[in-house]
């Protein structure tokens, strides 16, 4: 039996998205062209834009298509920084648990563009320190170029109090960007309701295709672009639009409804882990995505666990970035107070809409033996 518990990495495409995409692949027309085929492609894209705008509660003109979530994050962070720097603001505020697609562009701004990057710390449950953020805004609010805090964490599923972040930021009129790649389609999310300036989405985490993202960016505010060219997407993101991927993204987004079935399978998995491996523990208590379980198995190494699980047909992950294929201890778990060692003994299981009860049972079935082997193989 093959078990896929890595939906936070990427999801299988849903049928509606496959149908929409393959149909669009057979259509001719550059959406920027003025003739009939061009207008037809444009129409398909604009419909998709409206669907996405409805799902995420923003104006259609606020949707900017990009080639990935990573690109959307880079466009937002660099654009917001360059715009604010011109107004004399150079402090960049992110959290300590962001995805590398935020941490790395922020660090780049620090190294090359004169930004001062300040990280908001998290507590042991992975939730940001609102007091630190509030104090920072009080003391240095007029220096802050932007704040970027993720909605849900990709390793632990922990959800951040974004409404409180925007409330604090509003006092200083500070733009807030939110990386919602993991939460979009899984919990409710409203661009307008949260009072955000910018929001990042990605299709492949919700049953859409790889290589298509969205930056939702507040109307009436313009930022310098990363890519210059044909002036598409409010001149913030030039490049001929990828119509097949865009219509498929919209098709997947329409279907992505927060599901309680995933949460109950997750609870089954957590209960099973705690029962089978008494000293295992779950990382991050509190408000979380329904589909992510991050567990620490003391005395093991995650790469050993991954190999042994893979050999049993179970695809899981550490969720953290690797450099040159080597797992590094997760910066997210370290920020939550883990030691290097316990961070390296942790695994992420992420469930999706296709996950079945049998898959969870199979996982719980092989887990004790896998943990036992991994402990024996841990020679450090």
């Amino acid at each position: 039996m093959s078990v896929y518990l890595d939906h936070a990495a990427t999801t299988p495409m849903v049928d509606a998205a496959i149908v929409a995409m393959t149909k669009q692949l057979g259509k001719l027309g550059n959406p920027s062209s003025l003739h009939t085929p061009g207008r037809s492609a444009r129409k398909d894209i604009e419909q998709a834009r409206e669907v996405l705008a409805r799902v995420v509660d923003c104006a259609p003109s606020e949707i900017i298509f990009t080639a990935s979530g990573t690109e959307a994050n880079n466009t937002a962070l660099k654009g917001l920084f360059w715009k604010s720097r011109a107004e004399g603001k150079n402090v960049v505020v992110i959290s300590a648990v962001e995805h590398h697609a935020i941490i790395d562009p922020a660090a780049w701004l620090g190294e090359h563009e004169g930004a001062e990057v300040i990280e908001i710390q998290v507590n042991k449950n992975g939730v940001i320190d609102l007091k630190q953020l509030g104090d920072l805004i009080k003391t240095r609010g007029d220096e802050i170029a932007f704040i970027s805090i993720m909605h849900a964490n990709n390793e632990t599923g922990v959800i951040q109090p974004i409404a409180q972040v925007t409330a604090l930021a509003r006092e200083g009129s500070i733009p807030v960007h939110c990386d919602a790649v993991q939460s979009f389609g899984k919990v409710s999310l409203s661009f307008a309701g949260l009072g955000l300036s910018a929001l990042t989405l990605s299709a492949h985490k919700i049953g859409g295709p790889l290589g298509i993202g969205v930056l939702v960016f507040q109307r009436g505010v313009e930022i310098p672009a990363l890519l210059h060219g044909g002036g598409q997407e409010r001149e913030i993101r030039s490049g001929t639009l990828n119509a097949p991927a865009i219509v498929a993204f919209a098709a997947a987004a329409q279907q992505a409804i927060p599901s309680s079935q995933i949460a109950s399978l997750r609870d089954l998995l957590i209960a099973g882990i705690k029962q089978a491996i008494p000293d295992a523990y779950i990382n991050g208590e509190g408000e979380k995505l329904p589909g992510i379980v991050n567990a620490t198995f003391p005395g093991t190494e995650s790469d050993t666990l991954l190999l042994l699980l893979d050999a049993q047909g179970i695809a899981a992950s550490t969720g953290s970035a690797c450099s040159a294929g080597v797992q590094r201890p997760s910066h997210v778990l370290l920020a939550m107070g883990h030691s290097d060692k316990s961070a390296r003994s942790s695994l992420r299981f992420s469930l999706g809409t296709q996950t079945t009860r049998e898959e969870i049972e199979e996982t719980l079935n092989v887990l004790p033996q896998v943990i036992e082997r991994a402990r024996a193989a841990n020679l450090r």
């Binding site: 790469d303 040159a324 294929g325 080597v326 193989a377």
Partner: protein, 358 residues
């Protein structure tokens, strides 16, 4: 059997993995990440373990059709091989890091981990052979003498040899390259790595200077008379002639050679070619690749370098030290090197040279 194939990203380990699959084993490819700060690209024949090498290993595993993982052994490698290399040099000895890597990493850390995970052994692209005998598996030279790597495997115990599979030992290197090309492995023409993998520049002396300092010390002759200076005794090897920078010539104009390195006083002792000659070597910490050597002298061969000549000798164990008495005197033997004993093409065992006698 279920086996781990250690894949460096080179042609040998790729073909070894392919052959192991064909032999009917269930094979999983593993690339060992040995540097915590790998270089992106490999330059020429230097080093290994770059990001590019791990990519080559992954592509080879794809072509062979086996799962592939990267194991982080950087800590173990640093402690067991790099630090050992430094401390041996600092102690005036000349270590062989490839041998230590086989002893501490490939057939210890990796094999132990593999066994604990339920695998039966480790496949590597070493040029060596094993044979099943009445008393278990024994280690032998490869068919291709110029590529034979049994010397750097002479530190393996019987237990380790039992878990080692060397599919290339019966083939010439040129044929391995041809076979790799036939199998569609893109590494078929990748140059072999030669130098020490963790010294990517290839400049050993410079690398050691950076880490061990460059304290000036005397170069003296056999009578203790200072005839020159050096910048770190550890960068010299016994028998070395070049690079001494001596301005005082010998009476008869004959060249001088390094005879001794004294790390405590940071002194390098030089003398004539004749004074280098030794006939007996003693090795500590012996390891047996088969039945243990006893006090009873045996006729055989000793090899003291990776691709050195086998030298006829009589060997025996005395006071827990491996002793080899040479038929013909040898010029210059550094302590710290391994003395590997052969009985024909079978590797008997090895020890680390700790003392020599004329």
């Amino acid at each position: 059997m279920r086996v781990i194939a250690a894949m460096s990203g080179g042609v040998d380990s790729a073909v070894a993995a392919a052959r192991a699959v064909e032999a009917g084993h269930e094979v999983i490819g593993v690339h060992l990440a040995l540097s915590s700060n790998p270089q992106k690209y490999r330059s020429g024949a230097r080093g290994c373990c770059t990001v590019e090498d791990s990519h080559d290993a992954r592509r080879a595993a794809d072509v062979v059709g086996i799962p592939f993982y990267i194991w982080d052994m950087a800590e173990e490698f640093h402690e067991g091989v790099v630090e050992n290399f430094l401390s041996e040099y600092a102690a005036g000895r000349t270590p062989n890091p490839c041998l230590r890597c086989n002893e501490k990493i490939k057939f210890a850390a990796v094999l132990d981990r593999a066994r604990a995970m339920g695998f039966d052994g480790v496949v590597t692209g070493h040029y060596a052979r094993t044979r099943e005998g009445a008393n278990g598996k024994t280690l032998h030279r490869a068919i291709d003498n110029s590529k034979d790597q049994s010397y750097v495997l002479s530190v393996l115990t019987v237990e380790q040899i039992a878990g080692a599979i060397f599919p290339l030992g019966d083939t010439e290197k040129v044929d391995i390259r041809k076979e790799a090309a036939t199998r569609g492995l893109s590494v078929a023409n990748k140059p072999d790595s030669h130098d020490i993998c963790f010294v990517p520049s290839g400049d050993n002396a410079g690398w050691l200077h950076e880490r061990l300092g460059s304290e000036v010390g005397p170069i003296v002759d056999q009578d203790g008379k200072e005839i020159g200076q050096h910048k770190g005794a550890y960068t010299y090897t016994i028998g070395q002639r070049k690079g001494l920078g001596l301005s005082v010539p010998t009476l008869d104009g004959s060249p001088r050679f390094v005879l001794k390195i004294e790390p405590k006083t940071n002194t390098v002792v030089v003398g004539s070619r004749e004074e280098l000659a030794i006939t007996t070597m003693y090795g500590e910490n012996p390891v047996w690749c088969g039945p243990a050597v006893t006090q009873t002298p045996q006729e055989g061969f000793v090899q003291i370098r990776a691709h050195g000549q086998p030298l006829p000798c009589t060997y025996y164990l005395f006071d827990n030290r491996l002793v080899a008495t040479l038929q013909d005197p040898l010029l210059g033997l550094a302590t710290g090197q391994a003395m590997a004993i052969y009985d024909g093409d079978r590797v008997v065992g090895s020890a680390t040279v700790c003392e020599t006698k004329a």
